[in-house]
C-alpha cells in the first residue's frame, strides 16, 4: 500500500458521495481534483500509525448523508470536519 492511498481514498469518498447525492459527474470529478490540488497528504509511512486509524477519515466522509453533502458543497474544509483524523492526514497547501 502506498502511504498516500488513504488520502486518495478521501477524494474517492468525497467524489462518491457527491455523485450519489447530486448525480453530477463533473461536480464529483471537480471535488476530487480540488482535494488533490489544494491539500497535501501528510502520511509518509503506513507503519507509523496503524493505517486503520487513518482510515477513520475516508470512512467518516463516506458516511455523510445527502443533507451534509449539500451543506458542505465545494467547501472541502467542511467535508474534512467529518473526522478529526482528516486534519492529521491532510493539510491545506501553503499552510505552515
Amino acid at each position: 500500500m502506498e502511504p498516500d492511498q488513504v488520502c486518495s481514498d478521501v477524494g474517492f469518498a468525497i467524489s462518491a458521495r457527491t455523485m450519489e447525492c447530486t448525480g453530477d459527474p463533473d461536480l464529483a470529478a471537480a471535488r476530487d481534483a480540488a482535494l488533490t490540488r489544494d491539500y497535501r497528504c501528510e502520511v509518509r509511512s503506513v507503519e507509523d500509525v496503524p493505517i486503520d486509524r487513518y482510515y477513520h477519515c475516508p470512512i467518516a466522509v463516506y458516511d455523510l448523508g445527502c443533507k451534509a453533502v449539500e451543506r458542505n458543497g465545494d467547501d472541502l474544509d467542511l467535508w474534512l470536519e467529518a473526522s478529526w483524523v482528516c486534519d492529521v492526514i491532510l493539510t491545506p497547501k501553503g499552510a505552515e
Binding site: Q5, V6, A16, T18, G23, P25, D63
Partner: protein
Amino acid sequence: MIALFAGLAMAQGFLDGDPLEDCAPRVIAGTPGVAVTQQATRTNAQIYGAVALAEDTLLPLDGVPVSFRASNIYNVNRLPTVAACRYGQRYGMAAMDMFATSAGAAIPFKVGEEGELRIVYAGSITGTLMHFPSHTWANNRVFSSEAMAFAGIGLGYAPFLAPLIDRESGPQTVAADGMLGLQFFNPWDPELGALSLGYVYSSGLYSNVSVAKLKVLASALLTQELSELAMAKLGFYGIVAAEVLGRSHLYVRRKLIEPPTADQTVAPQQQITLLAPRVDLHTVHYEQRNIGGWVDIDVTGAMTPRVFLHEGWLGVHDPTHMVDVRVGVTELPALPWYGIDGGRKLSYDIRAVYGFVSLSRNDADTLTNFPYAQDAIHLQFGVSSEAIQALRDARNP
C-alpha cells in the same frame, strides 16, 4: 494462460512475505471500496447468473437445449486491508476476484399439430473471493477461484437449492439464483419470435420476448434483465457489401454506469434520488468481421460523457473459428467516484474451441460492467452467445 498466471503473480504483492498461515487479514470496513464490492457482487450475479445464461444461450431462437458456463474475473477491485501477523501489523491493498457458475436446459414439447413450448430452467452460483499468499496449495489463487467456479456447475442444475446457499462473510459472498419458466412460440410462425414467462428466485416474475435476428436489431431493449442493466443496442447486423470484406456490423449502444451506493447511510426517503445519478456511456460500434476469411477489425468511439476512442481491436482467426486472437486498446473516462483515473489500457482476448474457452484482459465489456477494475482478467469456460455465433459462422462461413 501463462499471461494469467504471470499477471496474477505480479499483482499479488500484499503479504507476499507473510503467508496466511502467519497472519489474520481483515478488510477495513466502511470504506468506499467496500460499497463498490457490494455493487460488483450484484453486477456479477446479473451478468453471469442464471437469467443471463438463459437469455444468452437457451431463450434465443437459435439457442442450445443444454448450457453451462464457469466464469472468473480477477482483480475486480482492491480493498485496503490490515493483517495482524506474527511479526507485527501489515497493511496493503488486497485484490478481490469474482466467480460465477451457471447451468440450465430448455426442454421442448409439442402442443397440438404445429405448436411448441419449452420448459426452461437455469441455476447459478456467484460470489466474491479474496486471496492472500499461503503455503497451502489448495489456497492458490487461480486454483481456488476456478474450483469455486466449476464446483457450482452441478448445483446450477438444481436451482431449487438457491435459498439454501446464500452466504456472506465480510467482502466474501456466495449467492445462488434460479429461474423456471415456459417459452411459448408464435403458433403461426415459430421462427418469428417467442414469449417467455417465468419466476426468478432473486427478482420474482420474469418475462422476455425473443425475436428472430433481423438485419435491424433492437432485441436488447426487450429483455427484462438487460433493461435493469440499462444497456440498449440499435443498429445493423451482418451487412455484406463485398464477399472478400466479410460482414459489417454497425450499431450504437447505450450503457449506464452506476455509482457505488452507501446503502447503510441513506435514509429511505432519500433512496429514490439514487436512481438518477448514473453516467451515460453512448458508443458507436463498427465491426468488420471475417475479412478475407481471417481478419476482424473492431473500432468503438464513445460520444458521451465525452468523445474518445473507447476501444480498437485487430483480430485474427482461422476460417473455422477454432482459435480467435484479438489485441487492442480500451479506454475509459476518469471515474473518481470509483477511485479510477481513466486512460488507455492494453487489451487482449483469446478464444479457443469456438469460444467455449476464453481469456481476456481489460476488454471493454468487462471494464464497463466493472468500471472500478484496475486490471481485470476474465477467464470463462462454457457456452456463450459468442460461442453459438462462432459455431454458426463455422458451419456457414
